[in-house]
């Protein structure tokens, strides 16, 4: 696949990105995020199963019944409490209706008095989220400095913008697709950021290698070198993504909702990082380089006249 006319495509990429981010903002303002129980708390359901013969089977029945009743089961496990055995289910749902409790009791063949519900707080402190965001921002700044030293100010700006673009786009897509916002999804956002940085470095290094050769040819510009670098690096990105896709798709078979959300966020991260680095970031870089070259040309012609 040959990448061409990156500068002309910038307006399309900008339109796509702004639209997706705006949708995310609108959904965020109107419906908010869909946080998991670990981030915002929810309800804990405890079912006394001391009388049941097979704890694992009871657990399966309870989880299946709760899902049928529209309850999002985030964690479910068995535990002992003194001499009794319990099933513990955690859900981000703030309330669990009496009908649901009744149907679970019927499915398990226990009294409704054996089932209790209680509201629970988040297991992950807001400090975790704040520190994760601070970490990502500091990472972006560190990359900006490294890129400035190695590739110059223009490239470092486009690299920083494409990195921030990847982070922001991931947040938006997670919000408007109504994905459950778990710590795994937060890690997925960090993965998108890091992948974008690595892909950017690969492209910029190739661009540095090509730029002198390409610009020797008077008919070609730095933009051609960028396009060549993207064409060269794209298969590498796709291979890395393919491996991550295999991991994510197989991982989804775990059935655990937290794991599924993490795997979905990884799938998203691979797509968004390629889009942010190779398409959005590089079309921005191409446009910036083109403008810089034009300004330089104008300066030269002024000096000559």
């Amino acid at each position: 696949m040959k990448i061409q006319n990156l500068t002309q495509k910038l307006k399309y990429f900008l339109t796509i990105s702004i639209t997706l981010i705006l949708i995310g903002v609108i959904v965020l303002l109107s419906a908010g995020i869909r946080p998991s129980v670990e981030l915002m708390g929810g309800t804990q359901i405890e079912i006394n199963i001391t009388s049941q013969e097979n704890a694992d089977k009871s657990l399966e029945t309870a989880v299946s019944e709760l899902k049928q009743q529209g309850i999002v089961v985030e964690h479910a496990f068995t535990e002992n409490k003194q001499l009794e055995s319990y099933i513990v289910v955690r859900t981000p749902n703030k309330t669990v209706s009496q009908n649901t409790i009744q149907s679970v009791a019927n499915a398990l063949g226990v009294e409704t008095s054996s089932i209790s519900t209680a509201s629970i707080s988040a297991t992950v402190s807001t400090k975790y989220i704040v520190m994760a965001v601070v970490g990502l921002m500091l990472t972006a700044v560190a990359v900006f400095i490294i890129a400035w030293i190695r590739y110059g100010i223009l490239s470092s700006v486009s690299m920083l913008l494409s990195t921030l673009h990847a982070t922001l786009l991931m947040f938006s897509v997670v919000i408007f697709t109504r994905m459950l916002f778990t710590t795994g999804v937060l890690v997925g956002i960090a993965v998108a950021t890091i992948l974008t940085i690595v892909y950017n470095i690969c492209i910029f290094e190739k661009h540095r290698e090509h730029v002198d050769v390409v610009t020797l040819d008077k008919t070609k510009t730095k933009v051609h070198s960028i396009e060549q670098a993207v064409t060269f690096t794209l298969p590498t990105m796709l291979i890395l993504s393919a491996v991550i896709w295999i991991f994510s798709i197989v991982g989804m078979f775990s059935g655990a909702i937290g794991v599924i959300m993490f795997m979905l966020s990884l799938l998203l991260a691979t797509v968004i990082s390629i889009y942010s680095s190779a398409f959005f970031g590089m079309s921005l870089e191409a446009k910036l380089q083109q403008n810089a070259q034009q300004i330089e040309k104008q300066k030269r012609s002024k000096n000559n006249s």
């Binding site: 629970i120 994760a132 970490g135 940085i197 690969c202 290094e205 655990a256 794991v259």
Partner: protein
């Protein structure tokens, strides 16, 4: 004569190369055995490097404790208490604990503990310190006497240090605490008393007179130091003192500590579904990547995979020394992506070498040129990953910290694997063959 000398020197190099290959593959085989196979040496059980890394409560069984809170607290106080408990547990190797409140009345803490007697007993002990009660320092052993220093208002941090076989717990106080400490020493001098009493939960700590805590040193600038000869004992005191600084009070006589089974979520799934799916995902994705590398780059691919394998063994060794790493869902993926990042610079070099060969260069020249061209790519990728990883490891918490630490490790390994291992192996291989077909290098002949 010159030709014979050259031939002799090449033969010597070949012998050294063979020794090098034998050594590398021996390291891989022995390393893999120690990395993944549990063994028994006499009375000692060795669990393997991979198994030695702790597992998080989301993929293994654990122990939970529920404590009744005395009094009611604001959300801020509760959040502070929960964060403090998580951080103290993380300090003592329980990285990804779950701490939350139920109905604002009960505090629940969950930590991972594989179902062996030692792990369970350690986990029970760790949880039993949580409701030990407020830490106080007094001049006499009367419960009614007011304390000079208390954990809630005066303590900044509690650290452990060791010097000449003795281990010390140092309590560092804030400004108000330092002032109180000054008052304590002045009062002690006035009453010519040299005994200080530690209280936890309103009682002299510890109960037995044989285990009495002696204050090693009081520095009026704001530190109190206690000393012991046994490290495990020192750690227990540190934990007890740390939990003695919680902003909330937990009922010491009303607690439940018991076992919980691993978390599951699907109706048709077994207890180990999550871990099985994650292992399958890792193995299948890495296998697909290895097959692609071998098919696409043949001998070069095999050499890059050898470097990756050496890096994995090295990474496992280092991970065992990282105290803040615990295996959970995201950590398993971090390894997959870390391995991919280690391989990435080698892939770029192989890809560049193939392109160079297509321009008409010899095999040797293509590989040399590719090495030269991709040198900085490797260094920049490695450095950037290392820097980003270190930032996340220092700033982030729990799974973000593990992601950062592993990324930083693999960033360093990416440089080592490409510039030292892959380069060395490639040089040794080129002594034996320069057949482009073995490297899957093709071009249209003119």
């Amino acid at each position: 004569m010159g030709l014979t000398m050259k031939k002799k020197s090449k033969n010597t190099k070949k012998v050294w190369a063979i020794i090098g290959f034998v050594w590398v593959y021996l390291v891989i085989v022995v390393g893999a055995i120690f990395a993944f196979l549990p063994m028994t040496f006499g009375y000692t059980n060795y669990a393997s490097l991979a198994k030695n890394i702790g597992q998080s409560v989301d993929i293994t069984s654990g122990v939970y404790a529920e404590f009744q809170m005395i009094g009611s607290y604001s959300e801020e106080q509760l959040n502070q208490a929960k964060t403090q408990i998580s951080e103290i547990l993380a300090d003592h190797d329980y990285i990804n604990s779950n701490v939350y409140d139920i109905n604002g009345k009960t505090l629940r803490v969950e930590i991972s503990a594989p179902q062996d007697a030692t792990s369970l007993s350690n986990a029970y002990n760790a949880l039993s310190y949580i409701n030990g009660g407020l830490f106080e320092l007094k001049l006499n052993n009367s419960e009614d006497e007011a304390s000079y220093v208390n954990g809630r208002d005066h303590v900044k941090s509690i650290t452990i240090s060791s010097y000449q076989g003795t281990h010390y717990v140092q309590i560092n106080l804030n400004k108000a605490g330092a002032k109180q400490l000054e008052k304590l020493t002045t009062d002690a001098m006035a009453s010519s008393s040299s005994a200080y009493y530690i209280f936890l939960g309103g009682k002299v700590y510890p109960d037995s007179s044989s285990g009495k805590v002696t204050v090693e040193e009081i520095n009026t600038t704001g530190t109190i130091t206690f000393g012991w000869t046994e490290y495990a004992y020192t750690e227990q005191f540190q934990m007890a003192f740390q939990f003695g600084c919680l902003p909330i009070e937990l009922d010491a006589n009303n607690e439940v500590v018991d076992v919980m089974q691993a978390s599951i979520s699907g109706a048709e799934l077994t207890k180990n579904a999550t871990i099985i799916a994650l292992i399958c995902a890792s193995v299948l994705s890495l296998l697909a990547f290895a097959i692609y590398t071998l098919v696409q780059y043949k001998l070069l691919g095999a050499l890059s995979l050898t470097s990756v394998m050496l890096s994995i063994i090295f990474a496992l060794l280092v991970s065992n020394a990282m105290p803040w790493v615990e295996v959970n869902t995201t950590y398993i993926f971090t390894w997959v992506i870390g391995i991919l990042f280690t391989w990435l610079p080698m892939y770029i070099r192989m890809h560049t070498a193939q392109k160079e060969y297509q321009t008409g260069k010899t095999l040797q020249a293509s590989i040399e040129n590719a090495s030269h061209k991709t040198l900085f790519t490797t260094i920049i990728i490695g450095i950037s990953l290392f820097v980003c990883g270190m930032i996340l490891a220092v700033v982030g918490l729990t799974s973000m910290r593990a992601l950062g630490a592993t990324l930083a490790l693999f960033g360093a390994l990416a440089i080592l694997a490409d510039l030292v291992l892959f380069r060395g192996l490639l040089r040794m291989t080129l002594l034996f063959t320069e057949n482009p077909k073995l490297f899957h290098f093709t071009r249209e002949e003119r």
